[in-house]
Symmetry: C2
Subunit: 345 residues, 2 copies
Amino acid sequence: MKATLMYCAGDVRTEDVPDPVVERPTDALVQITTSCICGSDLWPYGSMAPADGPARMGHEFLGVVTDVGAEVAGLQAGDHVVAPFAYSDGTCAFCREGLYTSCVHGGFWDEPGQQGGQAEAIRVPLADGTLTKLPVAPDSALAPSLLTLSDVFGTGYHAAVWGGVTERTTVAVVGDGAVGLLAVLSAKLLGAERIVLMGRHEDRTGLGREFGATDVVAERGEEGVAKVRELTGGEGVHVVLEAVGARPAYDQSFGIVRPGGTISRVGVPQYEEAPVGFGSLFAGNVTLTGGPAPTRAYVETLLPAVLAGTVEPGRVFDRTVGLDGVPDGYRAMADREALKVLVTP
Amino acid sequence: MKATLMYCAGDVRTEDVPDPVVERPTDALVQITTSCICGSDLWPYGSMAPADGPARMGHEFLGVVTDVGAEVAGLQAGDHVVAPFAYSDGTCAFCREGLYTSCVHGGFWDEPGQQGGQAEAIRVPLADGTLTKLPVAPDSALAPSLLTLSDVFGTGYHAAVWGGVTERTTVAVVGDGAVGLLAVLSAKLLGAERIVLMGRHEDRTGLGREFGATDVVAERGEEGVAKVRELTGGEGVHVVLEAVGARPAYDQSFGIVRPGGTISRVGVPQYEEAPVGFGSLFAGNVTLTGGPAPTRAYVETLLPAVLAGTVEPGRVFDRTVGLDGVPDGYRAMADREALKVLVTP
């Protein structure tokens, strides 16, 4: 079957690989119907060393179960499913609390021994805990929106929930990528009346306005900070949803947050150390929260609105390619030609 | 009158200074009856450059109002009062939310133009917003416990409240200074059943056990982290109350916190940058919170238990000096001879 491999920065290839097989009794095999390229895939696309490749790519997918291991109880061939970007057993202490990304037996698709979602098929470990059955057919027109439950919609929602967004909070979203735009939509769902989107790509911020942003700030750095402070009477916003992961986005976040407020990060940090002392977080009792979103936890919460069509998170996809077009999809996203690329194997 | 001045690291003097006067109509003058030396005073005591001195010292005090400015409405001469370690107007947006340390007109006692509490008397700015009247006489035997409402008890309580301590959380307190011990007491008040105190001074951790610590870990660094993880079945604790402010205490905190847990800092950070990326906070969705405690907000909450004698936070004081003894009090605390020194002018 065909799958996507990244050899090193800038070098993504569609290649033939062996078909997946059931390796453990808790595995399921899934024929992938829809997947996509993630903003976070662009980090290795920009920096991966040849020694770290080739790596199977893709951690967001919808598909149809084709086979299950002997211990899989809740799934059978023919089920239409959505996978979160982390697999999990669904039964450990952390999973029971909804923190599936900290599952003691779980992990991420890019770990050794795992396979990728930008492919024709995949072996899904801990299938009962990982996959959620969908009540619509695989050819549903809702597929793009359903696919966002794998990662980007759940991730934006996680940022908003952990940031404490309510109808009483002013919100700023840093980043106009797919996660940032869906953080806007999530803040709107949670009742926020003032949502400032910081981004400078007009086509994206336009979609952000349709998702609920009330203000757009195109400026960055100190200028951007000054603009948000001006919009909030000098105080800053109650909640910052940081959906980029670069250090300047972090610095911008503590620049615009209100004393007593919260910075909720879901962009994977491309830095380890950052300011947290008196001059940044401490003096104003600013809270820093967030991390890898347990999107499995939000599927049931967000699914009804997607099925009802009251939200259309799939609008973040602005290009569709087949598997052979995936390498060019990476290029298009890296060049900011495309916001998010849908892959239909 | 006599007051305490720090000239530089290791050089604290008791000197004659001019008596305070009402400078603004919102001022009150207070004759100080009880004050003390703070663990945070030891940071400049260890590092202050001569160019930054001399500085008036002390930010915790009880006293009796002797005069008030024309606009002071809620206080009069003869009132027995407690002052928090930050002054505030009590009316701005942040004060109304209880975040008095972010008051737009407020500040700290060590700022230029302000005076110190380790003295015979002091000018209190924004007196109506800053001072709380106490319903007992200045010579009450409760004075040491009441004085902890200025800073250390309220600070420990702030750590516990912002850390989200409840009867369902396991707690670790990093640091066996006065704030750490009162963080233990605060966690106990909030219902925590498992409280691990990390400290290596046996007389202090002994008091910590009396305040509610169920376990004491004397080891530090990696050994200490391993010990706490062992005590918690490998998972770590839900809430870490960090009451030191040194970088190793921060590193210890993210080593022992459970995925999805919270590090609540009230030790004034002696660092600006620290790890916050995938390898420290992000991977486990760990929340970092805390800051300067708005102790003014907690006086009413904690006062009843102090007055009833059901808690005795004043037990953190283990030495008493007059103003002339303050320089030696600093030395004794820096040498770890004394836990916290009470000053009776």
